[in-house]
Amino acid sequence: MAPVTIERADSLAGTIRRSVLRNGLAILGCERLHLSTVAVRLRAYTGASHDTDATEGLARLVGVMLRHGAARYSYEALSALTDGLGASLGEDVQRPYTDLVVRCLAEDFPRLIGLLADLARRPLFPTGEFERVRGVAQAAVLRTAHDTRVVAERGFRAAAYPAGHPYRRGVLGRLETLEALARDDLIAFHAAFYRPDAMALAVVGGISFGDAAAIVEDAFGDWAPPDASPPARGAPGVPAPSVGSRVAFELPGKAQADIVIGLPAIGRGDPAYYALDTANLILGRLGLYGRLGNAVREERGLAYYAYSMLDGGSGPVAWMARVGVDPANVDRAVATIVAEIMRAGQETFAADELADARAFLTGSLALGVESSSGLALALLNIEYYALGLDFLTRYPEIVRAFTREELLDVTRRYLRPEGLTIAVAGPEGATDRSSR
C-alpha cells in the first residue's frame, strides 16, 4: 500500500518530503546521505494540556511509560536493544505534544522503527514499571520543590492563569496527583489520545526518504484510527490580564533568588504570533539576552542571566521574563525589567534593532536546521502547526514584513505592564515583599 500523498519542497535544509499513510500518520523527512546516523522523532498530538487538575502529570507518565514495555519488547528487551545498537531513545513531553526521540546509526533504522511502532501502538504499562516510574517522578517533584527556578515558574503560573486552565498546571505533576493515578488511567489516556491520525514522524539523516517511508509504513500502516474525530488541541483563552500580582516563596539555604515576570500571551496560530515573537526577541533574546540582558546584566551587573521567552503551543501561552539575582537585588531587578517592558510598549523599537532581529531570524534558520535532530524537530512543528512544507522558505518573508509600528502595537496589546505577574523564589530576605 503506497502512501496516499507525496509532497516535496526545496529549502535551505535540502529537499523536504512528506507522505501521509492511509491511516493519517504523516511522515516528513530530509535525506542526508553523507551521514551514517539518523534522527527520528515521533509526535503524538497530546501532552500535558490533556491532563486535568486531578490528573496533573498523567500525560508525562504515559510518555515515559511508553519506554517501559510493550507487546513485543519488554522493558529489559528494549533497553538491551537500544543500548546494544548504541541508539538513544527518550521522550519529550510538552503541554501541546509528546515526542519520542530516537537517534541511531542508519544501519539500525528498521529495527528502531519497529520498536517505536510497538511502543506507540501496544504499550503494556506493566504494573511494576509503573510503580517505579511513578516513584522517580515523585522524587523529581521533591527535588524541583527545592529548585528556585522551578518554584518561581510554578508560582507564576498559579497566579497568572485561572483555576483549571491547562497552562496553569505543571507537566511533571504534584505528589498527590501522581499518587492518585492508577495504571488504568494511563491505559485510558493512551487509548484516547494516541492514534495515527493525530501523529507525525520525522526522519532526517543517512537514509533515503523512499526507504524510510516504506519501513515506517510497514510498521505503522495497519494501525487503524478510531472512528471518532481526533481530540481537540490547543487551550482555552483567558481574559487579557488587567491586574497583576506578586507572589513569593522562601527556600532556605539558597544563595540566589530566581524571578519570573510575565503574563498569558498568544501562541502559534494567532495572526500576531510572529510579530510578538520578534518583539520578544528584541526585548529578551537578541545578542546577550536583548534589552533585558543589556539593562540587567550589562549596565547594572545584577545577574548572570536575564532573558525572556514565549512558550510553545497554541492559545494563551506564557510570556516570561526570567532573571536570577543576589537576594539583595530582587527589587532592583524587578524594577529594571518592568521598566523595560513599559518602554517597549511606549516607543517603537529602533530601526537597527528591528533590522538586527530580522537578520537574526533569517540567518539563524540555517543553524537551526543544520543538525539532524534540529531539522526533525522543525519538520514536526511544520506539520503540527500546519505551517506548510515551504515554511522554511517563506519564513524570511514573514519576518521581513513587520514594521516597527506593528511590533509596538503587538507589544502594547500583549505585554501590558499592568497585567504582569511577578513570582520570586529564593532565600530569606529575597521574598520580603508580598505585594506591589
Binding site: 538513544s88 522524587a139 532556605p252 537578520a359 540567518g363
Partner: protein
C-alpha cells in the same frame, strides 16, 4: 607556515597547520549545510590558577565579551546575532574557548572578532567591576543546587596538590579581591598565538580559509611562553570521605577515583568502563539525547531497583590526571548506605570479573555511535577536534575509534584494578539538613567490598 593533513585525512581531511608565530590551526571541511563553526582555544583554565586568583581564567573569558577599541562592549553579540549566528565562550579545567557558528558566507565575522580580542581586549575598569557581580551571581546560581556543593567538597577532598581542586568558577573571597591588573596580567600571559589553537569545521574551502587566517592572525606577535604547571597530585593512600549537610530534598552520592589524563594509554579502557557502568557518554558539544545506558550496570542495580532516580558515571578527558566519578541521586526513603554498598559492589565486580563479550560489544557499539553522532554538525566536529588539540592529543582523532575497538575485557579488569580500589577512592554524600539521609540511620561507610 607548515601544513599537513593528518592521518585522518583519508576519511575526512582534518588539516593541521601551524603559522610562523606558533598559532595552530585545525580544520575540517563539511559541506552538508551552509554553516561554519569557528573556535579558538587557549590553553588556560583552572589548571593554571594559583591560590588567591582562583576563577581568574573564567573572569577573563567574560571580559573578552566586554569590548575592544574597535568592538565596544556588547558589539560581539550584536554582530554575530545580526548574521544569524550563535556564539559563546566557556572555561574549563584545562582551557578557555570561544566559538561563533555562522552561515558560511559570514566566516570573516568570526575571524575578525577573534583576531581582535586575542590582543585588544580593553578590560575597562567599570566593566571589570560590573562583571564581578555578574560572576558572583553565576556562582550563586550554581550554589542553589545541592550537587554543586557536593562536587566541590569531593573534588577538594580527593585532590590536595593540583589546581584542579579549586574548580573553575573560583572561591568567593578571590572573586571579591581580584583586581583589574590581575586580569590583565593573566590575559597577557596566556592570550597569544603561541598558546592558542583555532579549529574550524564546516562549509569552507581549506586553501581559502588558511589564507584568511594567515592574513588576520599571521602578523600577531607569538607572545610569551606560558608558565609551566608543575603540580602533580600525589597518590592517594586510603579512602577519603566528604559529607555536606545543607537544606535540600534528597541525598546525593558522589564517588570519585583518581584517573589518568586523556592522552594516557588507559583512557580508552576507562571510557569503555564508563559505558559499561552507565552507558556510552556523549563525545559532542551538547551531550547526548535520550536514555542511552538503560541496560547499563548502574542503571539496572540502582534505577531499575527503585533505589535511585539516576545513576551515572563519568570519565573526564583532562590534560593531567583527574577523576572518574559515579553520581547517584537517591529516591525517597532509601537508606544511603545501601546505595553506597551497591555502587562499591559494582565497581568491585569490574575488578574481579571479566566483562562478558556481549556486554563489552554493547559498550563499544554505544561509543562508536556517540562518535558518529559527534560528527554530524560543524559545531560538534569543531568541539571534538578542539578538545583533543588543546590536550595535545589530536592524533587521537585518527586512532580513537580503533583504540576503543581494541579494548578487551582483560584491559577493563586491569584498568578497574588500577583505579577503582579503596585506596584511590573518595566517597561524598549530600545529606539534607535535619535528616539522617531519609533512610532512618546514620550514614556510615558501607561495608567495604573493595580492597
Amino acid at each position: 607556515m607548515t601544513s599537513t593533513p593528518d592521518a585522518g585525512a583519508a576519511r575526512g581531511a582534518t588539516r593541521h597547520t601551524i603559522l610562523d608565530n606558533g598559532l595552530a590551526i585545525v580544520s575540517r571541511e563539511l559541506h552538508g549545510a551552509p554553516v561554519v563553526s569557528f573556535w579558538i582555544w587557549y590553553r588556560v583554565g583552572a589548571r593554571n590558577e594559583t591560590p588567591g586568583l582562583t576563577g581568574v581564567s573564567h573572569w577573563v573569558e567574560h571580559m573578552l565579551f566586554k569590548g575592544t577599541p574597535t568592538l565596544p562592549s556588547g558589539a560581539v553579540h550584536r554582530l554575530v546575532s545580526r548574521h544569524g549566528g550563535a556564539l559563546n565562550g566557556f572555561t574549563s579545567l584545562d582551557f578557555t574557548t570561544y566559538f561563533e557558528t555562522l552561515p558560511s558566507a559570514r566566516l570573516d565575522v568570526a575571524i575578525g572578532i577573534e583576531a581582535d580580542r586575542m590582543i585588544n581586549a580593553r578590560f575597562d575598569a567599570a566593566e571589570v567591576e560590573s562583571e564581578r557581580t555578574v560572576i558572583l551571581s553565576e556562582k550563586q546560581g550554581g550554589e542553589n543546587h545541592p550537587a554543586t556543593h557536593l562536587r566541590e567538597a569531593v573534588v577538594a577532598v580527593a585532590m590536595r596538590a593540583h589546581p584542579y581542586r579549586q574548580g573553575v568558577i573560583g572561591y568567593e573571597c578571590d572573586l571579591r579581591a581580584i583586581a583589574r591588573d590581575d586580569l590583565l596580567q593573566h590575559y597577557g600571559a596566556y592570550y597569544s598565538p603561541r598558546n592558542a589553537t583555532i579549529v574550524v569545521a564546516g562549509d569552507f574551502e581549506t586553501g581559502d580559509l588558511l589564507e584568511r587566517l594567515r592574513a588576520a592572525f599571521g602578523g600577531l606577535p607569538a607572545g610569551p611562553l606560558p608558565p609551566t604547571v608543575h603540580a602533580v597530585e600525589p597518590a592517594q593512600e586510603g579512602e577519603r570521605r566528604a559529607i555536606v549537610r545543607r537544606p535540600g530534598p534528597l541525598p546525593l552520592l558522589l564517588v570519585a577515583f583518581h584517573a589518568p589524563g586523556a592522552a594516557h594509554a588507559d583512557a580508552a579502557a576507562l571510557l569503555v568502563l564508563d559505558a559499561v557502568l552507565s552507558g556510552a557518554g556523549s563525545m559532542g558539544l551538547g551531550g547526548g539525547s535520550g536514555a542511552l545506558g538503560a541496560a547499563s550496570r548502574l542503571h539496572r542495580r540502582l534505577v531499575d531497583a527503585a533505589l535511585a532516580s539516576s545513576a551515572t558515571s563519568s570519565y573526564s578527558r583532562t590534560r593531567d590526571p583527574y577523576l572518574f566519578t559515579v553520581s547517584v541521586a537517591l529516591r525517597q526513603e532509601v537508606v544511603p548506605a545501601d546505595v553506597e554498598q551497591v555502587v562499591l559492589e559494582e565497581l568491585e565486580r569490574l575488578r574481579d570479573d571479566l566483562v562478558p563479550d556481549d556486554e563489552l560489544a554493547r559498550a563499544k557499539k554505544g561509543l562508536r555511535a556517540q562518535l558518529a553522532y559527534a560528527s554530524e554538525n560543524a559545531a560538534d566536529v569543531a568541539y571534538w577536534l578542539g578538545s583533543l588539540a588543546v590536550l595535545d592529543a589530536l592524533e587521537l582523532d585518527a586512532t580513537f575509534a580503533a583504540r576503543l575497538a581494541a579494548v578487551t575485557a582483560d584491559d577493563l579488569r586491569r584498568a578497574a584494578r588500577a583505579y577503582f580500589g579503596e585506596r584511590n577512592r573518595t566517597v561524598g554524600w549530600f545529606l539534607p539538613e535535619g535528616s539522617d539521609g531519609n533512610g532512618g540511620g546514620q550514614v556510615a561507610p558501607a561495608s567495604r567490598a573493595s580492597r
